[in-house]
Amino acid sequence: MIILCKNCNYIFETEVKFCSQCGQAVVKNVSSTKLKKVATIIGFYVAMLVYMLLVYYVETTFPNNLEAEIIVVIGFACIVLGFASFDLKPVLQLYNNKAIKFKHIVFAVITPVVTSFVVYFFIGFINSLVAEGASVNYFQEYLYLDYPLFWATFFIALMPAVIEELAFRGVLFNALKEVTTTRLTIIATAFLFAVIHFSIFSFLWIFPFGLLLGFLRSRYNTLWLGMIIHFIHNFIILMIDYYNFYNY
């Protein structure tokens, strides 16, 4: 390990608390980068939060409007890419597939089959308990368009899998890892991932789902497994809605 005094540029080969040449505290620099990372974490989350509020007003003002929906998705992608560009290299490294073997792909395909059905029946159970929790049919939302299944897949399964994984397992994960331990980073990203979905009931399943995605991200240093699981999970939920729509 080589440590550089930021005040006089003197180089140390072992860890020192104070520079032996100019007397400046050397460790102090740790906390200033820490402060920057904390500011990034809070800034990024707040940007997403405010954007969610904006999206809500856009969707109520322009219901059933494809242009509005596309602009909303592009806007979200821009926020995530903007924050990713602050520290791009470690983010780009997450798009490698070096550590992924065939068995991981099999795992990434089977897991969401299990999680999506658990979540589907869990939501059904919650709705039977709480009368007002009438859930939306994701497929039905896109019936106003020419190819509802295509657009529903695009907006419900594909875009969240790509953008949310980059946002939470990419940008937020990288920033948190700089200020705390890996274990706490997994917990914190899962917590925020669940909280921003704005529902106390879905928190109960999104939180463990986020823990799994965060664990895979830290274990294999790739976003691909998370994206596959996230996509298939959302896609199966959508297909159940599709099936229910034409059968009930």
Binding site: F18, K34, L35, T180
Partner: protein, 168 residues
């Protein structure tokens, strides 16, 4: 005799007694000016007092932010019962109780992990404000002074917790 004594004095820091190399002007352990004048030594001790005060101040701010987490838990519980007496609806009461349990957990956890617990506490609080604003935009301005105060205390705690050199 005198020469050898000065070598002994040179090889050990006067303040923290860490062995030091001859070419060092400052102790690499505590920053003591090994070759400095009396004035430099006085400055060194003055700075240490200042630093200590700063760290104490940081710990005070973290403590205040920790208390804020428990205060949020209490406020949310009270509001839950208030809504329940008005509407006799168990759902909002349950939601409020769950959220205040989360705040109690964060508050307890912030003893060991102040930085991460306070960040999560602040971001959850901001999310709750936005969710209630979606349901009823007027709530955004209701009790705005309280909200600013709570956010301020949490933010100060986060700033202090990231300034002190400790694993979060």
């Amino acid at each position: 005799m005198e020469v050898s004594q000065s070598i002994i004095l040179q090889s050990e820091c006067k303040h923290c007694e860490t062995p030091v190399k001859e070419d060092h002007s400052f102790c690499s352990e505590c920053g003591f000016p090994l070759k400095g004048s009396d004035q430099d030594v006085a400055k060194f001790y003055a700075k240490r007092v200042m630093d200590k005060r700063k760290t104490n101040n940081a710990h005070e701010k973290i403590k205040a932010a920790r208390k804020t987490l428990f205060i949020i838990a209490a406020i949310i519980t009270v509001f839950g019962f208030f809504i329940y007496y008005k509407t006799q609806d168990l759902v909002p009461l349950t939601i409020n109780l769950v959220v205040s349990v989360v705040y109690v957990v964060l508050g307890v956890w912030s003893k060991q992990r102040p930085l991460i617990a306070l960040i999560l506490g602040l971001l959850l609080y901001l999310t709750l404000i936005i969710i209630t604003a979606i349901a009823d935009p007027l709530t955004l301005v209701a009790g705005i002074l309280w909200k600013i105060l709570i956010i301020g205390y949490l933010a100060k705690g986060i700033y202090s917790a990231s300034s002190i050199n400790k694993v979060a």
